[in-house]
């Protein structure tokens, strides 16, 4: 039977289905972009008197402090991250394998929690200074002790929990460097040290740059640490302008300012990642490790142990001690409710992110056009935007929609609908989706990339309908990526603070908010239990990462 063309029904059905997909994707990307657009648009809007006041007084502080923070954390993560990466990737010393994954542990610690913990440890009334005073008979003013609650302290805290970004990416870069390149350099007359400086480091530069960009984006987004330490930064300024001065619009303008900083970092990170592609010359031979012996090996162990202790072991131990003290009083039904709330929120957010990620991921796969690619890129920009900025960007349009809808309903039908969107879980979940969709999307896209189109085609040629292809082939192959996507977003939401603080419904607390409240109220010991819960759950993605690490080819 001659086939003269596609049956009209099939064609129109395929056409309408594909336009449905495309519209869904475009709609999703647009809605997700709304908060950022709203913030950027506010730059055009009227500048109130409060803006002048800000300009005269604190804006300079915000900019200077943010720049100092970025400089300090950039330097700190560079030093900590590159040195540890070099040790675990290119050297061999006792305990190296243990340290390779242990150096990732600080990722489980949100910065604000480590800030509370160290304050409790190192503050004037804390155990360290009290011990110093009692053993040396000093009083206040007799001795100098670094002030932990300061800009410098914030830099230390942030460096300690953010260096793993640099560590991870640099380590992979070092491991993937072909040994032939390093040997070529040796053969051309450069000693081992010069080879590292002139070849290894420059080759790893894109990875280092990408890692530092990520760390700095997190630094700019941080609220808990800078608020607790009394550092005037953009995030605290946004809070203060909105709540303190009552100027939502001015707060949005401040947020836009912050976004400009972030944009620079974001571009740098994207550019670095692109350049990484060109830095893969040569095959991956297992690196010939430099054996460290004697005092060098001891130094390597000390450095690694020191970093892991400072970034994870010490704070975790202190939290456990506090938690044990307050165990009975803190483990109340209210705490269980807190856990339930946090889990519910995290589950809702991670599921929503996963569904949207699947929508976008499959859309790109089925119709790989420029629209789908652009939508995917737009949707994954949210991770660079600080939580406070997103919260403001969500609040404004939601409030506008609510009030317009309510007014319209009131006029037409005389019903007062009340608030539909603002102050609801929906608003908060939406904000999370905007921020964390990138995480899901990356995982889903990586998983889909593994399912090459030929697999689909061979299944279809073997008589499977599209839906069965989905069920019997895609789902099992994607399972790992889907679970990863769920887990990563789940943990990120659990740790998230500023967005939750701003947008949460009343009488709805999460672990992070509770820890922050208690710590701000100087009830550090009581904050330990929610903090510990966050850290324990935060260990799960770290475990996932370490298992991926052990599957690296050069992991011996």
């Amino acid at each position: 039977m001659a086939v003269t063309g596609v049956h009209p029904n099939t064609a129109s059905r395929a056409l309408s289905a594909s336009t449905l997909w495309r519209s869904a994707i475009v709609l999703t990307a647009t809605v997700i972009a709304v908060p950022v657009l709203v913030i950027l648009v506010s730059l055009l809007g009227p500048y109130s008197k409060a803006w002048q006041h800000l300009l005269d007084t604190v804006l300079v502080d915000y900019v200077v402090n943010s720049l100092l923070l970025m400089l300090g954390v950039g330097l700190g993560t560079l030093l900590l991250g590159v040195s540890t990466a070099w040790l675990t990737a290119l050297c061999d010393f006792p305990g190296r394998r243990l340290f390779s994954w242990a150096l990732l542990l600080p990722m489980a610690m949100p910065a604000y929690i480590i800030a509370y913990t160290y304050t409790g440890l190192l503050d004037f009334a804390g155990p360290v200074q009290s011990a110093l005073r009692s053993s040396f008979g000093w009083a206040h003013g007799d001795y100098w002790f670094p002030q932990i609650r300061s800009l410098e302290g914030a830099i230390c805290m942030l460096s300690l929990v953010l260096y793993p970004y640099v560590y991870l990416l640099t380590r992979i870069a070092f491991l993937q460097q072909s040994t032939a390149v390093l040997e070529a350099s040796r053969g051309l007359g450069k000693s081992a040290t010069r080879t590292f400086v002139q070849v290894s480091l420059p080759m790893a530069r894109p990875a280092i740059a990408a890692g530092i960009s990520l760390a700095l984006m997190e630094t700019l987004a941080d609220y808990g640490t800078v608020a607790y330490f009394g550092v005037s930064a953009f995030t605290t300024g946004i809070f203060r302008t909105w709540y303190g001065l009552g100027e939502l619009h001015t707060a949005a303008q401040l947020a836009a300012f912050l976004l400009l900083f972030v944009l620079v970092l974001f571009t740098l990170e994207r550019y670095s990642r692109a350049r990484l592609r060109f830095h893969r010359t040569g095959n991956r031979a297992a690196p010939v490790r430099i054996r460290l012996r004697g005092w060098r090996a001891a130094a390597a162990c000390t450095l690694s142990l020191g970093v892991v202790s400072a970034g994870f072991l010490l704070p975790a131990a202190q939290l456990t001690v506090w938690g044990a003290e307050h165990y009975s009083s803190a483990l109340t039904p209210a705490f269980i409710r807190l856990l339930a709330n946090s889990f519910l929120l995290a589950a809702l957010a991670s599921l929503s992110c996963l569904l949207l990620a699947l929508l976008l991921g499959y859309g790109k796969r089925v119709h790989p056009g420029p629209v789908e690619r652009a939508a995917s890129r737009v949707a994954s920009m949210g991770y660079a935007v600080p939580g406070t900025v997103i919260a403001v960007g969500v609040m404004i349009p939601f409030a506008w929609v609510d009030n317009s809808v309510a007014a319209a309903l009131q006029q037409r039908f005389g019903i007062s609908s009340g608030l539909l969107l603002s102050g609801t879980l929906g608003a908060l979940v939406f904000a999370y989706v905007v921020r964390f969709l990138a995480v899901s999307l990356q995982s889903v896209e990586a998983g889909l990339a593994q399912i090459r189109p030929e697999i689909d085609e061979s299944a279809r040629s073997l008589g499977q309908t599209p839906l069965r292809v989905l069920k019997r082939i895609h789902l099992p192959m994607l399972r790992g990526s889907l679970l990863t996507a769920l887990l990563l977003v789940f943990v990120d939401v659990l740790k998230e603070l500023p967005t939750t603080l701003i947008l949460r419904p009343f009488n709805f607390n999460t672990l992070a908010v509770r820890a922050h409240e208690l710590a701000s109220d100087e009830r550090l010991a009581e904050a330990a239990l929610p903090a510990l819960a966050i850290v324990l759950i935060g260990l799960l993605p770290v475990i996932l990462l370490t298992r991926n690490m052990s599957r690296e080819p050069s992991a011996q």
Binding site: G246, L501, F506
Partner: protein
Amino acid sequence: MFPLRTRYRPRLALLAALVLSGLTGCGAPDDTLNVYSARQEVLIKPLLDRFTAETGIAVNLVTGDGDALLARLRNEGDNSPADLLLTIDAGNLYRAQAANVLQPVRSDTLYAGSPSYLRSDEDYWYGLSVRARVIVYAPERVDPASLGDYAALADPAWKGRICVRSSGNIYNQSMVAGMLASKGQEATDAWLAGFVENFARAPQGGDRDQIKAVAAGQCDVALVNSYYLGAMLQSDDAKEYEPAQQVALFWPNQGVGGTHINISGAGVTRATRQPDRARQLIEFLLREDSQRWYAEVNSEFPVRVGVEPSALLASWGPFEANSLNVSELGRLNAEAVKAMDRARWP
């Protein structure tokens, strides 16, 4: 391409509707009073329960941060479900009034229950309890005779000896607003400049932290709200009452205007659909027995004349309180914030 099978569509729609309704604010019952409270639940709920028992009007208590509550009320506008706003510090109450989220209410009972200087001069809100911003000092290092008024704290003699919390906190803002009202901008600016120079450390933590810092020796005096001292003295936790016992309380500005005081209070929202019931609740809170409980539970002073404070507070001795109408504290709040910014009080 996977077209949605027809039979899945209704199920998905139902699921979507359920999820949406759970996530959004649809469907709130209309016969309870919604109270937005910045005061902690444990400090107000029992009283509200008693109100419900007596009047049969159910009360839904929503607690949150004062700033967040106000921001939410402003956003919600006319569609807010809140009937009553209960918050701390006259500055916050005035801001709510200025943000047009409250409506004035008046009645003889209300007027009888609260003195005129402890409520809005335009009837928008009513004070429910009084707290004073006092000086706590370390008795072994500070001679109380050297303390006199707030103004003295700007003296260089106090350099490196003062602890106070951040300027972002409304209590400090209201205190500065009070100064602006009584001394004017120039004098206040001068005072602030000297005061900020005397900080023993960068402002951090809350009022309890300042008390602990004085006890630990990091500073000699601190400015705190009186009820924090009370709460710490009555705490079970050694880490709280030990520092509290090591410091002493001083009433500043005695004989020169009186110690700066502030209130916690409540106002009826403009969006409420039950203004009478809301007013009824405020009247209930101003009753003698309510006042006694409300004040004592948080170591505060009652507003109602004739109600005695708790024994602990009485042990601190009588004091002269500033009689400025607390509305002024709100009116001058923005100016106070700007003055603190100019003085670079972090």
